[in-house]
Structure formats: structure tokens, C-alpha cells
Symmetry: C2
Subunit: 206 residues, 2 copies
DNA sequence: GTCTATAATCTGATAGAC
DNA sequence: GTCTATCAGATTATAGAC
């Protein structure tokens, strides 16, 4: 049917626009995305973009969705690895941490869009948000399968890992100053998870 | 001398403008600061602000400087505490971590300006940057006095602490989901610092 | 579906009268 | 030092011809 072909063509153009948006955003920063530049890049007037997206925010939304789909895909083979019986827990956790770290630092702008709240004019649509939630669930199921189950411990893990990536991105972009510390951090977390009964801040009781 | 009084008056107005800028920025976000709004807030036309600051960036710079002065002041009595012989290391470290955490989370916008790189159009002046450097040196001297000396360990500490504050600010603003984990994180770091000889990523050798 | 034209707003910054 | 007037530019978005 020609209906299908038209829809496919339309989707291809949308994809092309989103790809160009990623390029621009890597050059000029996430907030610096301008529809005029975007139109130039794909060879059409900025106004024509409105034939494909109802607003600038919808373009961010498509990028957000695409980013989380990439995140989920990136984690798929991690899950496969975790399901193998012969790999020990520490190995799996180290690998998982490195993969997460690498996913984040390899594309700082994507990291900013996906994991930080820095574009005030943009809030993900329910549909895109659902994609994000699904990716998180995949991740926490993976960790739960290894033994990281209670919320507090999970929160500690996420804080340490995002802390490392944040520092790497903002203080040593392209370097390895914090990536070198990933294994050390993971081992530290593993040890802690084994010893620590759940404790609240001791200083609060003083 | 009337020269002095004039200078004092001028400085007072500058301070007033900066204070109003902090207010606005807490309401509308760091990037959302508009000179027209700022003029309204202090009761003058936006154009008149240029009698006090040469550019918008100079206003950010004054805020940056003020923020790091506040940070240094905030840490002064931590240094005093650390100099007392009767306090044990773990106590000092826990207190230091909590103070840092509290300083950051109590004013997210200030945190953004001081510790994240999120305003593209602003780079601190050499003078203001020097204030920041001084505050960092104060902090690392404090940690060095307790035993955290090598750069890698210091980096690990900063990653964990900023990770906790980041998560708290962006995922549970006003709550305590990650602040509850500060002691646990500090104890974990202390234990790790005692046991770990300096090691690089083990998985790199595989 | 793409274009031209343009609306409606916002921005930071400057010139010059008072 | 404060004002009025204005520049010079950006932004997102809409209307209507083709």
C-alpha cells in the first residue's frame, strides 16, 4: 500500500532530523539546539520541521526515547552475561559498572539529557518516560539477580556510579582519572554490602 | 571622606543586585536569569544595571565568588574541629561529609553554579577562580591532615560525595533518601582506604 | 510537504538626554 | 546614576501560497 510507503518515508525523515539534532547538540550543547540550525543541517527551512514535530520539545522527546532505547540495548548482553552460571558475582558487577560508565562518558550530552535534569523547557512524554522506566527495571532486575536487593543499597550503588561518571565528564573529559577507580569502587561496594547490616546515620543519634 | 561613602554605597547596591539575582535564580533556574527581571526586582531599569556590572556574565561571576566564599566560611569550623585532638578520625570524616552534603543540597542552584558546568556563557574570572581554588585547598588540607593524601583516594571520596548529593538533589529534592546513606558511605570509604593498596582496574588485565 | 512571510516575544547591550 | 529610546539579534511558532 502507498499508505505504508508514505508512513515509512515520513519516519525516515523524522529519524534523519533526530540524527541531525544529536550532531548539533554535541557541537553546541544540549540547550543550544536551534531549529534554524537544525533545518539547515537537514536541508530544509526551520519552519518545515513542524511538519514532522509539533514542537521543539517533541524533538527532545524523540531524542530522550532513542537514548533510553540505546541504553536498554546496551544492557541486553549484560543480562545475557549475568545469566551464565560460570561467571562469579564480582566479575559481573565489575563488568556492569564499566559498561554503565562507558555508556555515560562516551556521550556526555546524551548523559545530560537522560540522567540529569538540565533542560527546563523539556519534560518527557508519558510514552518516552515509560521507555526510561523499562530500562531502569531491566537494570535493577539484573542487580537483584546478583544479590543487590534492598532500595538503600541500590541507591548507594547508583550514587557511587553516577558520581564517578559525573566527575569524569565534568572534570576530566576524555581522560581516565575516574574510570581508573571503577573497579576499586565496585570492590568497595561489594565488601560493604556483605558486612553492612542496614544502618542509618550514626551521627544523627549523637 | 565622601569618596569612601560613595564607594560604600556603590558596593551596597552591587550586593543588593547580587542578592536579588540569587532570589530570581532560585525561582526561575540558573539559566533563566533575565536582566529585565533583575532590574524589576531591585527597582531599576535593566539598563541601569550596567552602571554596576559590565555584563550579565559579571553578575554570574559575583555570584560564583560569593558562593565559594560561603563554602570556605562554611568549612572554617570544620577545620577547627579537625584540629582538636580528642576527636577521632571517623567522627571528623562523617561530620565533614555531612556538612558538605548539607551545603550542597540546601541550595541546589548554588550547587549548580559552583560545582557543575551548566551555564555555557559563563566562565569564572581569574580572581573568582582563585577564590574557588583556595576553598578546595582548604578542603584537601583538611583531608590530608586526617590521612587522605593520595590523589586517587581523594578522587574517590569526591566522586562518592558528589554522587550522593547529585542523586539527592535531582531525584529526591527536599527528602532524605540519599542523605541517610552518608554515614554508610563514609564508613565504607574509611574501610576501603585502610585495606586497599593502590590498585588499577583488574578487569583491564583480563 | 515545503516554501515565504511574518507574528510575537524574548534576549543582552549601547547612546545619549537629564 | 538613572532614565528613554533603540539596536541587533535570537527564539518558537503560525498563516497561507504553491
Amino acid at each position: 500500500m502507498s499508505r505504508d510507503r508514505r508512513a515509512a518515508r515520513r519516519q525516515a525523515t523524522r529519524d534523519e532530523i533526530v540524527a541531525a539534532a544529536w550532531e548539533l547538540v554535541r557541537e553546541q550543547g544540549l540547550a543550544g539546539l536551534a531549529l534554524r540550525d537544525l533545518g539547515d543541517r537537514v536541508g530544509m527551512k526551520a519552519q518545515s520541521l513542524y511538519s514532522y514535530f509539533a514542537s521543539k520539545s517533541e524533538i527532545y522527546d524523540a531524542m530522550f526515547r532513542e537514548g533510553y532505547l540505546a541504553f536498554a540495548a546496551h544492557n541486553d548482553d549484560l543480562v545475557a552475561l549475568a545469566d551464565r552460571v560460570d561467571a562469579d558475582t564480582a566479575t559481573i558487577l565489575r563488568r556492569t559498572a564499566h559498561r554503565f560508565f562507558e555508556f555515560c562518558t562516551s556521550d556526555p550530552v546524551r548523559y545530560q539529557l537522560l540522567f540529569q535534569r538540565t533542560i527546563p523547557e523539556f519534560t518527557p512524554s508519558p510514552e518516552s518516560y515509560a521507555v526510561a522506566v523499562q530500562a531502569y527495571e531491566q537494570m535493577s532486575e539484573l542487580l537483584a539477580g546478583i544479590g543487590v536487593r534492598d532500595q538503600a543499597t541500590l541507591d548507594l550503588w547508583s550514587a557511587v556510579l553516577t558520581g564517578l561518571t559525573d566527575q569524569q565528564i565534568s572534570n576530566d573529559p576524555g581522560g581516565a582519572r575516574w574510570s581508573r577507580l571503577v573497579d576499586r569502587a565496585v570492590d568497595m561496594l561489594i565488601t560493604e554490602s556483605h558486612t553492612a547490616a542496614t544502618t542509618d546515620n550514626e551521627s544523627e543519634k549523637a
